[in-house]
Every structure is written in structure tokens, then in C-alpha cells.
Subunit: 365 residues, 2 copies
């Protein structure tokens, strides 16, 4: 495998990134991209149509960026594996699962391919192939956990049905508290009302600033940092919103985190990592969140995320290249076509390639 290389891909709302890396030999259970890595990006998000994520559009961008990276290092070894993480892969990835593996075989001669939802690449980037739970938080919020036999997923249902504790959730709660103060209802915060006025305009104009927008969750989430600032400045209502967000985030982590070994000597404690822009809110969120995690998951160890979802995609591709994939395949969360990789054939969840619409994963399915 000396000289062999892999491609990792991260596709999301801000565009598509591709990384070219040495297949490496150290991707067993450790996080982070192995060896040398070069990356390129397109700021054009892959289109989604009635049939789901547009496979042709993704392939066009991916192959263009891959050729740029390969041309920059003409003496390198062959690309032997590709892992793609994409937002919406679990619900909108049927076309990708059907078309991308064959297209990559034809275009690059690659036969080892993984198609993962972005939560799985976030997991792999944060914790590598170790058991635990990762909370990915930004405008939305989803928790994903594995004991290396199957996946559990919690929340990620969007701003109306869930995403409890996310940026949109915090911002929405902050704006509600601002309007409570405006109305003279209980539970209001004058500080949040002033912050809303500065950020979005007078109370009476807020509905017009929010409802006509197609990106309502992002508009709501744009107010979350103001909630953080008000909490840091001592506003009790804002602090209460962040304390409640911390509870919700910890509830999601608790729902997916594998149990600790009864005898700590029999295996490592599961790890928990927080990843994504939500946690840049800093101490006003992190202080109550650490306390909630400690209370609900005393046996787990909270660790910093080692890398981002692109690093996770590279790690998955490296593991595929070396027949060393420990994270369990799954029909929609981590689709690995063409047979189970060695090492988890009996414990994985199967990758029957059904392409069935299973947007979520039942516990240990």
C-alpha cells in the first residue's frame, strides 16, 4: 500500500471540500488525518432536487477538484479509496448510493468507496474509530453514538420538530424572551429585547424579518451569540436559556452514548466530543453543558474533537484502503458497497444497499 492515496470529501451547505491524503498506516483507532494532506474546495453547494442530492452535480465537482489535487502531485501513488460525507445523505442520498460508486470506479479506478452522512464524518473526525458519542451542533443539532457494533442517533429533526439546544433553538428562545419583555409577559428579558432591537430591529418588525425568509433557522440561529453575550453579562433569562439548551444537548448525548464497561478494566470508557459552530458560544453554554454531561454520563470521558468532518472523511477512506474500518456500516448512515470490509462482518449493521428511506437509525439496528 506504500504510496497509495485516498480522497476524503465533505459536502454541505457551504460547498464541497476534497482532501487528498496518503493512505497512511496510523488510522486504526486514532482520529485526525494521516500523513500528508492537500485539499481543495468549491463554494457551490451540491444541488438537491426532487430525487434527492444531485449525484451528477456532486461527481462533477468532486472529480474536478480531485484532478486538480492529483495534477499538483503527479508522482504520487494511485487513489485506492474515497469516502464522501454529505449533509442529507441518510434521507436524500439514494441517487448517490446508486450512482457514485460506479462512477468513481470508471473515472478513478477506485473500488473502495464509503458514502456517509455528515454526522458520521463528524464522528470520525472527532473521535476516529473509538466508541463514544459526538454532538454536532450549529444551526441544527444531532447526536451520534456507536459501540462499534451499531449506531444510535438522536435529534437532528430540524428547527420545528427538534434540534433542541441548537443555535436555532437558542436564538428562537432568546427572541421569545425579548418579545415577552416587550409585551410585559413573565419570563421576559429587557437585555435580550435591547439586543434584538440592535440586531434585527424593533420588536414590531421582527415577524417581517423572520417569516418571509427561506432560511428561517439561520435567521433564528444568528441571534444565539447575542443570547450568549447577554448571559455572560449576567442576564438571568439568557443564562436560563443556555442552561436549558445544555440539558437538551446532554439528553441527546445520553441517548446515543454506549454504556460504560461494568468493569472499567475491561475496556476503555466511551468518549464524548462536541463539534461544530454551536460550541463557539463558549463558557455560557459550555459550563452548564459540562455539568450536565458529568451528571448524566459520569462514566464517559469528554474529549476535544480531534478533527473536522473532512478529516473524518479522510480517516474513513484510509481505513477502507487498509481493510481496517471499525466504524459499523449502515444502509444510510455509512454505506460501504461491494461487501463488508474485513473485521466487522459479523457485527456491522449490514449495508444491503437497499437505498431504503430510513432517515434515522433505530438503536443498534
Amino acid at each position: 500500500m506504500t504510496g497509495a492515496r485516498v480522497l476524503g470529501v465533505d459536502s454541505g451547505g457551504s460547498g464541497l471540500r476534497v482532501a487528498l491524503a496518503d493512505a497512511g498506516a496510523d488510522a486504526g483507532a486514532d482520529a485526525g488525518a494521516p500523513g500528508r494532506t492537500a485539499s481543495a474546495r468549491s463554494r457551490e453547494p451540491v444541488r438537491t432536487g426532487p430525487g434527492g442530492i444531485d449525484a451528477g452535480h456532486l461527481l462533477e465537482q468532486l472529480l474536478g477538484l480531485a484532478r486538480t489535487l492529483l495534477d499538483a502531485e503527479p508522482g504520487g501513488g494511485p487513489v485506492v479509496a474515497v469516502a464522501i460525507g454529505a449533509a442529507g445523505m441518510s434521507t436524500l442520498g439514494d441517487r448517490l448510493r446508486a450512482e457514485v460508486p460506479g462512477a468513481l470506479a470508471r473515472a478513478l479506478g477506485v473500488r473502495r468507496v464509503a458514502l456517509a452522512t455528515d454526522a458520521v464524518t463528524a464522528y470520525a473526525g472527532a473521535l476516529g474509530q473509538r466508541p463514544g458519542a459526538v454532538v454536532a451542533g450549529g444551526t441544527g443539532m444531532v447526536a451520534l453514538g456507536t459501540d462499534l457494533r451499531g449506531w444510535r442517533r438522536a435529534d437532528g429533526w430540524g428547527h420545528l420538530l427538534g434540534d433542541c439546544g441548537s443555535g436555532a433553538w437558542i436564538g428562537r428562545a432568546g427572541l421569545e424572551a425579548a418579545l415577552r419583555a416587550h409585551d410585559g409577559r413573565t419570563g421576559g428579558s429587557r437585555a435580550l429585547l435591547a439586543a434584538a432591537g440592535a440586531a434585527l430591529g424593533p420588536a414590531g418588525e421582527l415577524p417581517g424579518r423572520v417569516y418571509p425568509r427561506a432560511d428561517r433557522p439561520a435567521v433564528l440561529a444568528s441571534f444565539a451569540p447575542e443570547v450568549g453575550r447577554c448571559a455572560a453579562a449576567g442576564d438571568a433569562v439568557a443564562a436560563g436559556i443556555l442552561a436549558q439548551a445544555a440539558r437538551h444537548i446532554a439528553e441527546a448525548a445520553e441517548a446515543v452514548c454506549p454504556a460504560g464497561a461494568a468493569d472499567p478494566a475491561s475496556g476503555p470508557a466511551p468518549e464524548i466530543a462536541l463539534t461544530g459552530g454551536l460550541f463557539r458560544l463558549g463558557e455560557p453554554l459550555l459550563v452548564p453543558l459540562r455539568a450536565e454531561l458529568e451528571r448524566r454520563l459520569p462514566y464517559a470521558r469528554t474529549v476535544p474533537a480531534a478533527g473536522d468532518p473532512l478529516a473524518g472523511a479522510v480517516l474513513l477512506a484510509s481505513a477502507l484502503a487498509r481493510d481496517a474500518l471499525l466504524l459499523p456500516p449502515h444502509p444510510t448512515l455509512l454505506h460501504v458497497p461491494g461487501g463488508e470490509p474485513t473485521g466487522d462482518g459479523d457485527t456491522g449493521t449490514g449495508d444491503g444497499g437497499t437505498g431504503g428511506r430510513r432517515p434515522d437509525t433505530a438503536p443498534d439496528e
Copy 2:
């Protein structure tokens, strides 16, 4: 004034209704439509465009229905006053305030006109011209109160910014609890998960059933009766959602209800009425709501709503006809062009006809 008649109009999401009634002599402080009333309706909602509610479209429907009613009673007296209640009047009613009074003068010879937001006609229908607070609840929720000197309004901010305790709020909370059960998060309800499955499909399909819809609040509200049923059947999570909704509704009522007289002998206690489809959820909501109102507003008297918003519009028109309007005019909530009616010139909030965009009313503005 014998033989004089009035028109009341109610315009909302389900169309436009017009009632023709005797101007009557009993509309002073009492609710309910006076004398004989005939009504007609169009099921075509009045259009809203970039300039707000379409005045031409409203007038076309209003005048057509009015002529139908007048033609059916050819011997009746002249129409001397018209009151129009419309959803969105406060924020989207500039064109109506600018164009409707003149058009009605030209078409019907009517010079006494009131343009009210639907919350004001709901108030007038429920409590007549007596001081108190009315909570109008359906998919949304707004509370409006008056001491007959000015108006206070609370909530009504829509499903993302407020409408706390509304049908959309209850339904959304019920679906969140269903998905918590699905995920294995705390706070979930298996009963609500089963109800959601029966009403809207499997958990994994819920996002696809909600987010693509333009009428998301109505979709959420459609689940509220299921929350009521689960609560009635003993589900503690569903009952908790309704108890929280009751708190939010009572908070809004508390924010707008005028204070009780220090000496009960010095005046009547303010009244509170609940109106709208939300309260058809019945005892699972009403039992905790009555308790919350009793706790927060012990000096107020909860009474049944006497009539609906159309009856409220007729009552306003009758009061205008007799120079007996006690409810306070307001630039956007209750616009009465052409001078203050007698009796409240010094205590009203002014109806300067500015047409300014003031979607809400500050306390006692």
C-alpha cells in the same frame, strides 16, 4: 335612528363574512349582535400582496355580499355604519385604512366606518364594550385587553417567535415529545409517538411532512387534538404540555388584563373570555387554564364569550351608529376615521389616521 341598519364584516383565512343588522339600541356595553341579523359569506380569503391586504379585493367581496343582503330586505332603513375586522389589519392594513372609508362613502353613502384588527372584533364579540381581556386562540394565540382608555396586546407573534400555548405550540411540543420517545431521549411519550405515527406517518417521515409545507403552523396545530386525547387518556407528558400551554396563555392574559379596582365596590371586576378553536381542546387544557387564571388574576371574572368576531363587528358598527363607542380607537388596532366618536375623545388613543406601521400596541399607548 329607527330602521337604520349596520354592516359587520369579518375577514380571515377562511374567507369573508358580512352581517346586516338593525342598528339597535342595546349595544351599549353588552355583547352579542343586537336585533335581527342576516349574514352572507364568501369562502375566498381576501388577497394579501406586497402592499398589504388588497383593498380592492376586500371591497369587491364586501359590496357584493352587502348588496345580496340589502336586496333580500328591500324595505329596510339605510346603512349608517360599517365595521370591518380583518386578520393582519394592524400590520397589513395601510391600504384598507387609506381606501376603504372613501369607497364605502361613495358606494353606500356610509360615513361611520371602523377598521379593526381581528383581535379587536374578537374582543367585542366576546365581551362587548366592557373592560377586561380576551384570549383568541387557534393555530395562533393573542391576548388583548382594555380598561376602555387604551389597549394592551400580548403575544400573537407567530409560531417561531411566540404564540405560546397556541394550537401550533401544543402540536409542535407533542411532535417533539413523540420524537424524543423515538430517539430514546428523556421527556418522550410513547403514546404521542403512536399518535404521531397514526396521524402523520412514521417518525422518519415527519420532517418531510412538515418542512416542505407552506402552512407549517397549521400542520403543527393539526396534532394538538392528539395531544389533548393523549392527556385525557392519562399520558403524563401530554398533560404536561397542556399544563405548560395553560401557563403561557394565562401569562398573556395577565399581561393585558386591566387591574381590578382597589375597592371592588367602586367598579365592576374586569372580565376574561376565551375564544377560538383552541379551547375546543376541552378539559385537558381548560382545567389547568382555569387554575392558572385564578392564580394569576384572582380579581378578574372568567366568563363565556358572548359571540364571535362577526358579532363583534356588528356590535362595533352599532356603537358607531349610535355615537356610543366605548372601546378606545387606536391607529392600527381600531381605526375610526373622521373624528373621534363622542364619549371617548379625551381618553382614547387617538386615531390620527397615520397608517403608520405599528403592528403592536405598547401598553396604554
